[in-house]
Symmetry: C3
Subunit: 317 residues, 3 copies
């Protein structure tokens, strides 16, 4: 594996999940693998779980880590080609990415979408500029349209908790939010669920909130949340802004919030969320504080996902 | 020891002081103790000495360190329970603390008081939320009402400099400042002086500036600074805002500034301050630049205090 | 070597260049040299290359590194003596530098000029305060008037690329910019070219843009850029603001931008720039994207320059 931007970069989902679960049992077994290798973590946007878990993962492999909040500790990058740079951008990504590629063995980048220009976001202009110019393996720490470290974590979390012979029913449900959020997490979760053939995957959201078919694939979409949740073994909750009416909030229906009542007809479903979650807006306190929530161990698995990804790239180098 | 929030967490003050002074002589003697353990340092507020010395201390023990300026690199945390989070806070401390507890073996937190709501500050709401939800040993890097790493440093500094058989007279004096500052340092210093029975401890401040009796204890309070300083062996200088008229500046009397003249009737006292100090407001240049100031070696001892605390927690795990 | 502020601190330019090129071939050969030593990197200003390359260099030597963005993670420092600190500065550099000297074995500082007060900038007031009070070897990460890590990098880059028996012609040319920039890079480059007797060095800039003679020395200045560039083997491009009419932009002549046309009469010159560079303002896309640009490997050499400097200081301790 020489980059990690989407599920398409992963040779085998079951194998990388197994690698991650092995690390969970024995975090330091490959401590020599990253010796004298440096991971550069470049943040164009805020981060908590991704920032912290990836640092821990890299150190578990013996890698050096350099964290760079380029937006705060550096300056604004120019992402467009051919521009006369007499405005607010100080350095072109062509130089910034190529120079960082001189210093780091692997580069990890977080860059959010602007949610203004669908084409710019969905061509993944920003992270693709880094891929093009860095000359090093790039790991996405969440890009405009995908968040693969999160999705790998989610697969790991489902895998380790599901012991029955039948496939679990996994329902991804839209939920309300006060801000317009990217589609990266739901796109990515859908992409991974579709690629991993060990679940029955269903999507539910208000009409109009259809995701890009490139990621949603053939997954059934049910517009009635209650109906969709029936018999669910895992409920994956996430808000996203409208993909069609791009970046807009077109539904504020609070009844989409996940409550115990809403989970009543599930199969005692485990409730997942990528976090951060706005309590009593997206998911009710009673659910997050109750026995069905697995959001904390889910977030804990971020370490093993990152460690598996980094180790696959290190082994490939 | 499984947390370090106040002197009450320390089984024996003399023993932890001895541990610290041992580390000062041989910083790397326990380099294997922290192997494969990670300290997460979470800053909700700025920091210089605490930030830097604690990193050095952890590395001396072989620990990994991850620093996270959650206010700048992350987002605002919700600290209140039961809230509908449709405002400015992005994540509840219940999740943030619990998730960080998944990544770190020990968590160190800095969080200042708001100085608006005495009850909220004095119940230590913020750091207690971390203690409650992190599931890991918590080290205070200064909380709303206490700064125990500073106070342990102060005990170490007095201990290593005092060789006489009689107890030294230690006077903590209020001094002026242009901003309303927390009571954390004076509360904490008083608490530690009271718990450590190797000094004669006196407090002096303008009338009305009494500290919470929970921390000031039975220490004599003398409202006349000159009288209080008479015969002092150590003068501990610190401004604080009013505890009774909570968070207010009710005295701006510049004569409380520490000058050579003010130190005249001391026993050639050593002058201590936790830093940062506003020169010629709190303490005059002539004192800070003169032979009686020990503020720099005092600050240097922060490393050994932090190292002793982390090692006690590591040994307990 | 016990500090690195200017070329004058370097006992032998050829020898440190050789040390750096040795590290380029074998980055980890001195991994034990920095064991149990900590480098403190203090930023009063933004940084990309310097920040990242110096961290990598220090780790290659086995040093611990602590990065501190004092402007963002700490507070404003007072640099003037005798001040009553009742304004916006929270801590005096006397304390801040001395305290950090208690924690770090080597301190590296970045501090830009204000470009308002020539004397203040050219006496290097800020970095000199750190030198005076830290009590530790200080490495400049760029100061008000010099950027020696950049210049050492530049010498390395020329050295490794020039194999002919004759001296190369190196032309430093001013180029336009939209912002008033420091003279640190051109001052420093001139100083190092003058100290290193392996090149023929020429400076070209608009009339009035003369650099401080202390740094420019006896280097010929040619006001006609085309004439100056004739036969150049290396073209070192850099904007700077006016030194005489201090900190002002007195020329906006776009014809000074480096284009392929401008390089026509050079000896197929290699084009260098310290970066960040504003494309199509300072240097045209066609040059930066063409075969004559060596700006990326030049930036890559920052690691070996920093590593050579740190190792010389460590060996001296």
């Amino acid at each position: 594996m020489n980059q990690f931007i989407s599920v398409g970069d992963v040779p085998s989902v079951p194998r990388i999940v197994e690698t991650a679960l092995d690390y969970k049992k024995n975090p330091f077994k490959d401590k020599g693998l990253g010796e004298n290798k440096t991971l550069g973590m470049i943040f164009l946007n805020p981060s908590l779980r991704t920032r912290l878990s990836t640092q821990v993962a890299a150190r578990n492999l013996g890698m050096e880590v350099v964290v760079f909040n380029i937006d705060k500790e550096g300056w604004a990058l120019e992402m467009n080609d051919g521009v006369v740079m007499n405005g607010n951008t100080t350095e072109h990504v062509k130089e910034a990415a190529a120079v960082m590629g001189q210093y780091f063995d692997i580069m990890a980048i977080r860059t959010f979408p602007g949610l203004k220009n669908k084409e710019e976001d969905y061509t993944e202009k920003y992270i693709n500029q880094f891929i093009k110019y860095a000359g090093r393996p790039i790991v996405s720490l969440e890009s405009a349209t995908l968040h693969p470290l999160q999705s790998l974590t989610d697969v790991i979390t489902i895998k380790e908790r599901w012991q029955q012979p039948r496939k679990p029913k996994v329902v991804m449900t839209w939920a309300p939010h006060v801000k317009a959020l990217p589609q990266a997490v739901p796109n990515s979760f859908a992409e991974w669920m579709n690629a991993w053939d060990e679940v029955d995957f269903v999507i539910t959201h208000p009409e109009g909130y259809e995701l890009d078919p490139k990621f949603a694939g053939q997954a059934p979409v049910i517009y009635n949340q209650e109906e969709a949740l029936e018999g669910a073994d895992f409920v994956y909750v996430k808000n996203w802004s409208n993909y069609n009416d791009y970046g807009k909030i077109t539904c504020t229906d609070e009844s989409w919030m996940i409550t115990n009542e809403r989970l009543r007809n599930t199969n005692n479903a485990s409730v997942m969320h990528c976090l951060p979650v706005r309590r009593n807006v997206v998911i009710a306190d009673e659910v997050l504080d109750g026995p069905q929530s697995i959001v904390i161990p889910q977030a804990g698995n971020r370490v093993w996902a990152a460690q598996a990804v980094l180790s696959e790239i290190l082994k490939h180098q």
